[in-house]
Each structure stands twice: as C-alpha cells, then as structure tokens.
Symmetry: C2
Subunit: 424 residues, 2 copies
Amino acid sequence: MSLGVGVIGAGTVGGGVVKTLLGNRELIAQRAGADVALVHVAELDQACLREFDLGGVSVTTDAAALISDAKVDVVCELIGGLEPAKTFILKALGAKKSVVTANKMLLAHHGAELAKAAIEHGVELRYEAAVAGGIPVIKALREGLVANEIEVVYGILNGTCNYILSRMTYEGLEYEEALGQAVELGFAESPPDLDVEGHDTAHKCQILASLAYSTEVALDEVYVEGITGVTHADVAYAREMGYLIKLLAVIRGVDGEVEARVHPTLVPQDHLLASVRHEFNAVYVTGDVVDATLYYGRGAGRMPTASAVVADVVDIARRGDGPAPPPFVYGPRRPVRDIGRVAGRYYLRLTTGDQPGVLGHVGAALGRHGVSIASCFQQEGPLEDFVAVVMMTHETTESSLRSALDEIDGLDFIGEKTHVIRVL
Amino acid sequence: MSLGVGVIGAGTVGGGVVKTLLGNRELIAQRAGADVALVHVAELDQACLREFDLGGVSVTTDAAALISDAKVDVVCELIGGLEPAKTFILKALGAKKSVVTANKMLLAHHGAELAKAAIEHGVELRYEAAVAGGIPVIKALREGLVANEIEVVYGILNGTCNYILSRMTYEGLEYEEALGQAVELGFAESPPDLDVEGHDTAHKCQILASLAYSTEVALDEVYVEGITGVTHADVAYAREMGYLIKLLAVIRGVDGEVEARVHPTLVPQDHLLASVRHEFNAVYVTGDVVDATLYYGRGAGRMPTASAVVADVVDIARRGDGPAPPPFVYGPRRPVRDIGRVAGRYYLRLTTGDQPGVLGHVGAALGRHGVSIASCFQQEGPLEDFVAVVMMTHETTESSLRSALDEIDGLDFIGEKTHVIRVL
C-alpha cells in the first residue's frame, strides 16, 4: 500500500515535513504498514527547495496543480494565514483528498466551515500541528481521553510568551528587554503582536474549546489579554507569594457553559505548569474519569511541528478504507460564558499615596462590591511618593472586581491604574 | 452503528470500565459516532456487580460464554495475571473479536505471541491501560511520534515506588516507614514485591522498548533493580548534590542495540521528571524530529485505568471496517545491550574507616579500572567509627565500575558494601 503526499508551502514547517518524509521514510513505512511517499511540492520560492534531494518528486509553484495531481492522496497545507490557504483546503477537500494543516489561525476563524466540507466529502481534515506543535495533544483530547467529560484545560501554548515570561522570572528582566532578546534569538516574530497580544494563544484556545466541549466557539467569544502589561514588579511580587506568571489558555465547562479565555495567570510554584520554562509548551487536562494529565514539549519550530504533521499523514495512511473521523464533532451548543460572569481569584497591585487610611478606603470599596481580601502586603514602590500595595482576593466574579476597581482607581490617593492578574 | 463490549473481570479496573461505559455512554456515543454499548460482563464474584444498574446487560461467571456471545464485538480482559487471561485472549482473538487489555504482566511475557494471533485473525489487541494507566502514552508512541526515531524513553511507571520515594524525599522517612504508609493507604499491594522489586516497572519497560524500537525484547533481557536498597541517607545526599531519586525505566537506542533497564536513578532537581511526585506517573520521550516530550498523569487506580481501556474500545469502534493496526510491529531485531556494557555516571556511597589515606586508596582503585571521579564529599556516617564518602563518577561502563567496586569493597577499611545508584 502506498499514500501519496503533496506539500503546499515548503518554508519553515513545510520544509521540516519534506525533510522528515524523505529522511525517515523507511522507518515510517515500517510502522505505518504503507509507503508514505512525498510526491509533489508546491512552493513559490524555489530557493527553499535547494537543500532537498527531490528526485522523483514533482515540484510546482501552482498549488492547484498539486491538488489536482492524481498521485496526491493527502494535501498538507503549510502556508499559514487565511487566504489562499482556505481556498486551497476547500479545493482539496472538494477533490476528495484528505488535508493536514498546521494553520491555527484559519481553523480558529473557519474551523466549523472546513470541518463541514471535510465531512461532506467523506475525507479528513487533521490539525495536530495547529496546537502545541509537536505535542500530540489533539490526539490526546480526541482519542486518549475520549471517555472523559473534560473538566478543565490549561494551556501554555505560545513559546514566545513563555520565553519572555521565563526570562523576566529567572533573570529579572523587564518585559521590553526580554522581548528584545526573544526577537534577537528568533523565538519571536517581528512585529511580535500576534504572540504577545495573546491572539495566537486565543486561536489555539478556540480549537481546544471546540474540541473539548463539542461545541462551536466563535473566535471573538474568546477573552484575550496578552502579556504586554506584565511588569517585572508583578513577576517579583508573584514569586514572593509563591506564584509564577504564565500566559494561559483556560478552558472550563461550568453549568452547561464553557469558559474560553487567554490571559496572564498566577500559577502556584509547585504546579507542574510552573516547571514549563522558556519556549516549551504544555497542556494540562483534567477529565472526570482520568483525573489530571499533562502533555509537554516543543510548541513550535520547524521539526517539532513537522513531527505532528507527519503523524496526521500516517494516521490517514493507517485508516485505509475505514471511515473518516470528523475534524470536530458538534453536539448541543454550549454558550461561552461572558468574562464578567467568570469567577476566580485575583492578584491586584495598587499604586497608592503613602498616607494613613489608604488600606481602609481600598478595603471598604472592595467590600462594597462583595470582593474580600485573602492576603495583602505593602512595599515601597518605584514611583516617588507612592507605594505598591499587593493584594490577593478570595474568589469573586470579574464584574464585581471591575466595579470595585472602577471605584478604587478613581480615589485621589491612587497613582497609576491598578494592575490585575488572574490566579489559577 | 453500534459496538458491543464484553468485560471479563469486574474488579478494580473492570468495575471502572463498567462504570464509565454506563455513566458516560451518551458522551462517548456522540464523540465516537457509534453506540459503544456494554452488553456482557463475566465476573466470578457477583458481589462486585451490585453497585451497577446492569439492566439489559448479560451477566455470567463463564468467560467462555461471554467470548462466544454474538453480541460481543470487543472483549476487555481485565482479570490480570498470566492464566487464564492468556487463554481468554487467544480464544477471543480466535473468534475474530478485538481485545483490549490492561495486563502488562501478560504482555511482557507473551506480547509477541498474542500480537501474532491478533494479526493472524485480522483483529486488534490494544493495551493503552497496560502502561502508565490513564496517560495515553502508548498512543503517543505508536501514533503521535510515529515520524520519529526514538532516542530515549524515561518512565516513572510505578505509583507505589514513586509514592514511597516521594515520602522519603519530602518527609525524610526511611524506606520501611514509607512502605508501611503506602500499604496502609492502599497505594501498595501486600506483599508489595512486584512493585518495590521493580518487576512491575520492568513489565512496562519491556512493552515500551518493544514498541519504541520495533523489536522483540525478552522480559529477562530487561535489567531490573528495585527500590528496596535505597536509604534515607542516599535520598538526603542526592538532594545535597541537586538530585532526587526516582525509579526509572530507561529505554535507549544505541548503535543498533537497545538499552532496557529499570533501577533507582538520580534525576537532576530541575528536570521535569523530578516534579512528578507521589503516586503519579510520567513518561519522558525524545525523538529525532520532535525533541523532548513528556506525558503525565495517574498510572494506576480504578478510573484512570478505565479511561485508557475505554479509549481503546472507542478507537476500535471508530475504525469501523478499516484495517486493524498490528499490536506491535517487529522490524529487524535490535539486541538488548548487556548491562555491563551500558555507559553512565554513578553515585557511590562508601562507608569507610575514618583514617588517613582512605580517599587515596579508593581513588587509585577506581582509576585502575578507568573510573574517574567528578565530585566527592565526606560526612560523618550513621555507624560508629565509620564515615560516609559520597562520590559522583564521570561516565564509565557498568562493568568497569563493578570491577572497581569488587576491589574497593574488599579493602579492609571499608565497612558495608558500597551503595551504587545510576545517574540520569
């Protein structure tokens, strides 16, 4: 048996896929029980292909020609972005060819539409590489934990953000310094907005939420807050209280609704997620049958992502004439809970004038909105005449906290706007 | 579509499977695209079944009747042990029914024979639950990392041992105390030999080695050393040097051979495996394409193990009429490397008379066998007139080290036999 693979886009990830299919072909064939053969590559920049020995492989600049090549059974879309990726995928599905993609942005925007097309044409759309790179976490959720009602998913899903926060934590850097180093070392794109503003994590959050709760989640229902507002002071205060700051995707089923949100989060230092450093990713999942599980590895980069793409291709080869599993299963709709109704604990850093009665006023304002303080400490701040007051609240809703902060930030002894970070 | 499931053995794990199939039936059907229905349970002790509402499910004490029931498509063997489990499985495979098992002991002894029978009859033999309980690590190795030449697998695969070592590490208990508590809390069987002598871990090591390197590994080729010789003193000295002691299965491909061994191991405190505490399990895998990955969760217990069994059943349901993947793929044989030829670093704890020249004699003996010392410290020992000398060697082979220790342990100023623990 043999499966012909076409790769559209031979840049970073696509090049890794080409390299893996060529380099580990024998090993893969032995395990798959089928020859998984690269037969066609479409790439606009032919310079990308120079490093490979593509004897016997068709090479084109025209993706449509690859899709219509009868030797191509599976199309790997690895150009990223919304268009023309979406058009290519729909065309391939329409030609009854299964598709493997690493394109989280496209899935987060149009996953339901693409899934429908795959089901309609009786082929697969697989996307292991779209979330957490080389870590087989889509497989874990879809298959390994299939018997479980998922309770919660916490994901460290963006290597750039985790790298920046790790440098701030372990080397005491300020955000701008750490970002600069990330760009220099190639861990961050320039401009890095999609990463540091949290949108890349939100794309992955949307995919995981749809999968974990079998419901359509609109991307704009995912609450997103990036790491640009995290300061070294916050990192340092958090550590003093026994926490590290991580950018997390949080997905949770609550009373028939789903929470789907992305924001910096205080993670207890002895939680396994706190050990996930630098550019690594991890996904922590608890289910009603299995309890806690965690999956860790490289969430990006040429080869780790290629590992996931090729695994999807091999799954298609192994399936043979068996039924194509749907990319997403949609059951009864579970609405996404508005962030205002989400309950949790909060870290607050207030900048206040150093005068008597301040804590009393702040405490009273919090109390009026039903927010109670679990712990509190005060330290000299970086601003003259102001001190930092750091508080940890008991559980409250986001809307209660925001009302309280609206009042507090209007008090005349408050310096800059209060910093708020959610707590795991 | 519908898949009939028969469960042989409704004890700890089997009861969990019955509970999950009944309790999460709707959720599973939605995701699987098929009704995965419990249709038959075979159990000698009918008292086990009282907690379940088995209306519509056949109940028997005769496993053969279950296997021959035409409504049973998949047989779950959950009685454990070698016989009659092996007979039941062969009978089910012979009746062209796929089998799901959690039986690591049976697979470690007869996995190749059972796999051959499954392939011959065109059905599946699945065993996710046999290694690391609820963690989908068999799936990760077989499918998620299929594109990778596996470099190394380190597994914390026995919750009892990890619990005992964690208590020794974090609460300063001696081995016997920690073991007593594990038995009391139900984390250890009584007698606990299969766990603490390392044999349970060796069973799982055999399975992972066969899978990772597509080669037949005989169980008696797996080197096994349990945790009964680990003392609180070793745990404390290791921590001083920045290490924790874990019982690891180590599997590694080296020059066409495979290392497959189980022994206490010094793990650096900042390694992710060092964060795996108490009864939890984890498997760390590196591959040539994906780099490092880790899978963490509960390795035993009723529900976590049931989660894995049901996942296997659902995979069979989803496959439909597609080809049955082989339980193990055997490629060219890769011999298991004899422990004497395995290279590594070692922690040594010598008990020596407190007299001049001791270190010189020991160092000279090590040197004669080509073993060099990386670091060393001396502390007053628990025995009168003796001191503990703790050393860390540079990389050497096990046989060189053993020759050196034969010489050293014969020196007249050496008290008890030198303690040796391998280093990750």
